[in-house]
Structures are given as C-alpha cells and as structure tokens.
Symmetry: none
Subunit: 253 residues, 2 copies
DNA sequence: CGCCAACTTTCGGCAGGCTTACAGATTTGT
DNA sequence: ACAAATCTGTAAGCCTGCCGAAAGTTGGCG
C-alpha cells in the first residue's frame, strides 16, 4: 500500500476536471510529501495515513512541482534536499505560479540561515529532522488552519448510527457493529457529509486514494457490504443511492 | 560559582517580584526546569515557551533547590542526574521544607528502582528520556491541574489486567506476569490509551524513540511476545489488531 | 420488452501481520 | 575484567482474512 503511494498515478491528470472540492471542511486532508529518503518518507506517509489523511509521495523535485501545481493539495511537506529540483526553488516556482498551498519544510540542518531562507522563499513553517511525528501532525494541522487535534470531534453521529473514531468502532441503536477497515473509512466519509451527495469520484479519491477511474465496481461492492451491516439488520435505511450521482446518508422523513 | 550556574535564568530574577499567583487555573504556568544537559534543556524550555509558558532553567541541583523553595512555581521538571545535588535529594529536601509543588522527574533510564525511588522521594510523575515534547507538556499540564495533595496512580488497570508501575510488575487475574523492559513500556503505553487505537507510529516514537520507519517488524515482534504473556494463557484477549491502523487494548463485549 | 445502472455473492491472490529462530548487544555476576 | 545470562532487533517463512475482479441478478425506466 505504501509502495503504491510512491508511484503517483500518472493518470491523475484526468481528474483535473473534478479537483474543486466543496468549501466545507473536509476531513481527510490531501498532503503531498516530497522527500527522497525512503525511510523518512515511509514514516511520515504511514503516520499521516494512520491519522486518516491521504498522502502522495514523490521523491523528485521536478515531479513534485508538477504535481503540486496541477493538483490541489491541502498542505505540502517538502524536504530541502531532494534530487531534481531543490525544495527552495520548488517553492519559489510554485509561488511564482500563483499557488498558495501552505508549505512545511523539512530540513536536516537547524541553522538560522536555513530557516530564514526557507521562509523567504515562501515556506510557511519548517521542522528540523529528526522530529516527533506528533509535531509534524500538529504543524500540518496548523498550516491547514484546522483546530488543534484535542477538540476535533471524536464521535460522529447520524440519527442512531454512531462512529467512534478513536475506538474505531461503529454502533447503531446501542448495538456494536464490527467494520472492516475499508468499510470504516467509507462510512466515515459518508457520515462527515451527512445529507450531502457523495459522488463515486469523491469516494474513490478519499477512501481508495485513486485519482482515476478504476473502471470496476469496487465502490458498489463495499457499499453493499456496508449496507449489510448498518442498514439491513435495522428498520430504516440511512444509506441511499442516487442514480447517476452517488450516495447519501440521511434519515428518511 | 553560584553566579555562574544562574546564567540561564535571567527571567527568573526579573519575575521574582511577582510570585503570588491566583490559586485558580492561571495561564502562563511558571515552570522550573532543573537540567544540566544544554540541548535537552533547550528542547524543553523552547517547547514550553512556545506553548506560552514561562520557564526558568537551572543546571545545578543546589541552585535548583534554592530557587524552588524561594519561588512559587507551578511545576518542577527535574532531571535525576544533575551536578551539585541529585534530583532525588533535591525533592526530599523540598518536601521536608513543606513545599508541595508538583515534581516531574526526567530519568535517562527506565529502571525499576529509578521510578520507585523517584516517587517515594516525593516525585509526582516521571518521564524517561528521550521523550516527545508533547508527552512532557501533557504530563506537566496534568500535574498543574492536580490538587496539591496528590496520589499518583501507581497501578494501571484494564479489566483484570494490572500493571504496577512502582514494582514494575504486571498481573492478570491475580497471577503475576514477568515482563521484559520493552514489553513493560509497550504495555504501559497501550494501557494508558485503553480503548483507543495506538498506531504503530505512536509506538515507535514512545517505546523506541524511532522517528523514522525502521522497515522491520520490531513492533510486531514485541506485540507477539507481549501477547504470549498477557493474552495467550487466558480466556479472553485484550489486545486487538486493527489492520493498517495499529493496536488497541480493551475488553471484548 | 430491452437496456443500463446498481446490487449481490463468490472466490482466489496477496499484503500485512504473526511467529520463531538466531545473533548482536547489553547487563549481570563473580 | 571475563564469562554467563538476559534482552532486543533482524530476517525469513507462514498464514490469515481482507480486498477487488468477475459474473450473475435485480430493478427502474424508456
């Protein structure tokens, strides 16, 4: 899975049409990590995905700039020392192109000069290696202008359906429901968009990190399995299909 | 000689005049850090001040005791190994003088005796080096919030599984279980997060202080060993795996 | 009646996690 | 200071159970 994120799909170009996200706060952040050291990259990527975010990784500066310009990421995490195009130039180019995506620099050097350089080039924050992951997460949150983790809602609720994000556990009407990982994130996305239509494309991006159409029925398959657990055993269905549009989670009236 | 060791504490002298704070929750906490390793001291002091608190730093035990007795700090953070007067004696002396200021010990080694001694001497909590700053901040907050006469929780409990932090000994259903040091801290982290998901990244940071991905199965290995001791011999398993997420310790329903 | 979109179920591959053995490191005892 | 014992991390192989492709079914709508 991590290996996959290393090879950023070339076909993400196709999704260009639909890269405008709804203005409301979206949960999983999309983060682009530009880092060539595999172990560091893995560490960060893994941590981010464990925290429910989507992380693309590129090891080369040129590719990084390309992706950062084309796609709309919430935050960029950029190593200063990378092959292709160094982090500093990358960000300068990005800013010159008018992109304001917040940038967090990772630097092996803790010198004051480095810091100044980075910020002057248009970086928003920096972090010297090695660092605790919690710190990176905190700074990324700060850059994305999100409230600190402590007062992030930990239990989602739609009617009598509850999803405890910390315990990773769902329940309906007090009855505990076991969910598989994919089912869990699928439900999470749906619940965070209660009442709104969630398109297939959104689901592919947020749950599967596919930036293209796999031309299969993965989504349907998992929707089906999810229904079997959260709707089938109960009176009223909460998950509704909207033909040719997508799905929506709400209480019928 | 005395003057020398006070070098770091310019703010201590200036703030001396106003040492009477309202008893309720006050925001900038005043914290005295007694630590001789400059880089560690910097790390902590910087972190505290970034969090808006006031931190005085002293590198010598004798000076530390003097300041701690004279001033009224909200919390003391004390390294066990310091020149002048060791941390243990410092706290004993402080308590003997009737001061109840909460004390957080920093100890390089997580040995049994270190912890027991520290708590017996009148310490309120301990933290083994190295640590993530966030953890120190959390513990300091906890200490400051705690009513002056404290009983440190010395035994963690999850269902019938107990972990005696003083004796460094685990037991389940009254049956004593021997744990190796790594297993002990691993279990401690898990128990302190009962019911919550503890990600692999968290474990790598808190138990191993790895700030990168070791790309090996250290965690799995130790989880396996821990399971063999705390779960295998018993009816119900308490330690559960969540694929791609981490582990969680809780009683099955 | 026929088409298309969505639903359901089955089933094999495989990734991620588990286990074990071993060797290096560290600690302890003499 | 040396040897013994203990502890820890790596690597290799196994195994489980999740995931997604595929094929067949349903149902809505023209």
């Amino acid at each position: 899975m991590l290996a996959e994120t290393f090879v950023l799909s070339r076909s993400y170009i196709q999704t260009g049409k639909n890269n405008v996200h709804p203005p409301e706060e979206r949960f999983p952040m999309r983060i682009l990590l530009i880092e060539d050291d595999p172990s560091a990259a893995d560490y960060v990527a893994r941590g981010l995905s464990e925290n429910g975010h989507i992380c693309d990784v590129l090891a080369d500066g040129t590719d990084g700039l390309f992706a950062a310009t084309r796609e709309s990421y919430d935050v960029l995490v950029v190593d200063r020392m990378i092959p292709g195009l160094d982090g500093l130039s990358l960000v300068r180019a990005l800013r010159a192109a008018g992109r304001k995506t917040p940038v967090l620099f990772l630097t092996a050097l803790g010198g004051i000069d480095d810091r100044v350089e980075g910020l002057e080039a248009g970086g928003d924050d920096y972090l010297t290696k090695p660092f605790a992951f919690a710190e990176l997460m905190a700074r990324v949150n700060a850059l994305a202008r999100r409230p600190p983790v402590q007062d992030v809602k930990t239990v989602l609720k739609v009617v009598d359906l509850e999803l405890d994000l910390m315990r990773r556990q769902a329940s309906r009407g007090g009855q505990v429901i076991d969910l598989l990982p994919k089912e869990f994130t699928l439900l999470e996305v749906l619940m965070r968009n209660e009442g709104r239509v969630v398109t297939r494309t959104m689901l592919l991006e947020r749950v599967w990190d596919f930036h293209f159409d796999p031309k299969t029925s993965v989504v349907e398959t998992h929707i089906s399995r999810l229904r079997a657990k959260i709707d089938k055993p109960f009176e009223v269905a909460l998950l509704h299909t909207l033909k040719n549009m997508g799905y929506s989670l709400y209480a019928p009236r």
